[in-house]
């Protein structure tokens, strides 16, 4: 009996027992689609976090006040009075102190309410310098960004995020108009280009003013010199760790921290932020994976039930085939191919449903999905494995019976 005859016989058997084949494939299909969807959602979430962190800018060091020795590094514990000042930022910008640092921008943030006409909108106000746009890789779609003269003169100007503009101006061009912040009028000079990772709303809903304007005219008080974040951009990705060392040494020096004393600042790299973030969604991935494995198991049990129910009929068939001269190895081969055909068809359909899900799900929810080819191939292999284990095992047992015992099975 040739392999082609075996394949033809197996496909014929799958076709002839339509309902049983369909139910078997359905069980496999659901399991595989669940695996692909859950893995896809997990990977999508991971990719999104990675993109968001990449959108912070490239070759970036983020210096925050307070010690981070116990924290995850996403944001160090914020000291009550900030230990980081604009003088620190100025010192790091000195090329003789930190030759591997390209640009430095200090930023102070506060939640404020902006008003235009009768509309009020609460957003995050950032006081910073023109370098911010370079470091964070942000450009303006209309108007212009801050200039050094804006900072020097503490100009009453503001650059708005695209979402903020939508909220306050409802589609009109805001450049040249003024918004009010606690009695102070600020002229809108530019609108930032939107970032794709729309979920991180602070990326697109924000207002930026010169650092001097923020500290002297808007917030004031004890926080005049202190800043919340100092962004440091290294000259290239190869000099990133050198830049890290320089920044660390300079800040330890200017803050008079020696020996084993705990630093009053912390420096995060994108890598450390990423690993902190991914450690969170590793948990999610494991959880989703667990759900997927359970659904695959349920699918597998369904397949097993159907195979067991049909085993009587199959045993008689095996008895007859043996009586007509089929060798046991041919019987095993036929059922192996038959189970593989079922598993493969169910698996491919499952991947298909998973792929359709990958298109539909992101439209229904804001989550992203990535269909991993590795996961798909593994899932199909698993489907074939299910078919083989649950289909061939009973068939092999039947192939060992004498033909008449198999034929007499009730």
């Amino acid at each position: 009996m040739s392999w082609r005859d075996t394949l033809r016989t197996s496909i014929g058997a799958v076709r002839d027992h339509r309902l049983r084949s369909a139910l078997t494939m359905l069980g496999i299909l659901i399991g595989i689609a669940a695996v692909i969807l859950t893995v896809g959602i997990g990977q999508g979430a991971k990719a999104k976090v990675r993109d968001q962190i990449a959108e912070l800018g490239t070759n970036l060091l983020v210096v925050t006040p307070g010690s981070s020795t116990s924290s995850s590094g996403v944001r160090g514990g914020r000291g009550s009075a900030s230990t980081l000042t604009s003088r620190d930022a100025a010192a790091l910008a000195n090329p003789t102190v930190a030759p591997d640092v390209q640009t430095v921008a200090a930023a102070t943030t506060a939640n404020v309410s902006l008003a235009y006409d009768t509309t009020n909108w609460t957003t995050t106000l950032t006081g910073t310098t023109p370098e911010w746009s370079t470091i964070r890789s942000r450009t303006v779609t209309s108007g212009r960004f801050l200039t050094s003269s804006d900072v020097a003169t503490s100009a009453a100007v503001v650059v708005l995020g695209p979402d903020t503009v939508t909220q306050l101006f409802a589609g009109r061009d805001p450049v040249g108009r003024s918004v009010t912040l606690g009695g102070t009028k600020l002229e809108v000079i530019g609108v930032l280009k939107a970032l794709s990772s729309a979920d991180l709303t602070s990326n697109n809903d924000l207002a930026i003013v010169p650092a001097s304007t923020m500290s002297q005219r808007l917030v004031g008080g004890t926080r005049r010199e202190s800043v919340d974040t100092v962004y440091v951009k290294a000259t290239s990705d190869r000099t990133l760790s050198a830049a890290y060392q320089e920044v660390n040494a300079e800040l330890l020096n200017t803050h008079h921290i020696t020996g084993s004393a705990t630093p009053d600042f912390s420096i995060a790299t994108q890598d450390s932020i990423l690993s902190a973030a991914t450690s969170v969604d590793k948990t999610i991935t494991v959880m989703l994976g667990g759900i997927a494995v359970i659904s695959l198991l349920v699918g597998g049990i369904g397949v097993m039930n159907i195979m067991l129910v049909s085993v009587t009929e199959r045993t008689r068939e095996i008895g007859l085939r043996k009586a007509l001269g089929a060798r046991p190895s041919l019987i095993r081969r036929q059922f192996l191919v038959e189970a593989s055909v079922l598993g493969l068809a169910g698996g491919l359909l499952g991947v298909g449903v998973g792929a359709i899900g990958a298109i539909v799900v992101p439209h229904l929810t804001s989550s992203r999905m990535i269909v991993s080819p590795t996961a798909s191939v593994l899932a199909i292999l698993m489907a074939v494995g299910i078919g083989v284990v649950f289909g061939v095992f009973p068939a092999t047992r039947a192939a060992r019976m004498t033909p008449i015992d198999a034929l007499r099975t009730e």
Partner: protein, 251 residues
Amino acid sequence: MTAIATEPTDVAGAVPARAPVIELDSVGKTYRSGSLEVDALRGVSLTIEQDEFVAIVGPSGSGKSTLMHILGCLDVPTAGTYRLAGRDVQSLGENQLAEVRNRRIGFVFQQFNLLASLSAWRNVELPLIYSGVARAERRERARLALEQVGLADRADHRPGELSGGQQQRVAVARALVTEPALILADEPTGNLDSTSSADVLGLIRDLHRSGRTIVLITHEHDIAQQASRTVHIRDGRLVEPEPHHESWARA
């Protein structure tokens, strides 16, 4: 029709030139189910020569089917020896047994045993698949076999669409398609009306005339008479017929 190798030597080894087709020597078969033991056959010795037409008769439960299954290598005896064309069947491995069933024996069951999902010609083709005949030739030989049993026009019908007599004729076609030297038929007409019975028995007589050895279980008086020899079985033993007691009348 292309003859396939049916020489006794095709299984393995050299064989005495004119060995009987079947030699049973004190064959016994004991069924065990738990502590219960049923002696279905006790010390059956029987020799059947080439070209014989042997009818086996006996009351229900006497062991006719058990004997037939052993003759067809579908079951194994628990005592004694069975030589098929001079070769001890117990010495054959699974694969050799498969070849014997495939090439030397054509079996007709009382219950037809057709695969319900396959059309008539695909059922007839089955034994040829296992003897490695190419697809085109299988189709042709299956068609010829169906023609021989008068069912050429039903080749594409499934068993469910055929009458009992037609189904049994398909089963006969399946038994003869490999041109086996030995045809075993276990009450082939037991489930059929008299017309269908006559059809099927006519086919079997034709097979005998064309030089095949036939062993047939039957209840029919006239059929047993057509056989060249009648063997009586009772309680698992071969017995001499009692002249006035028609022990093989339908039980």
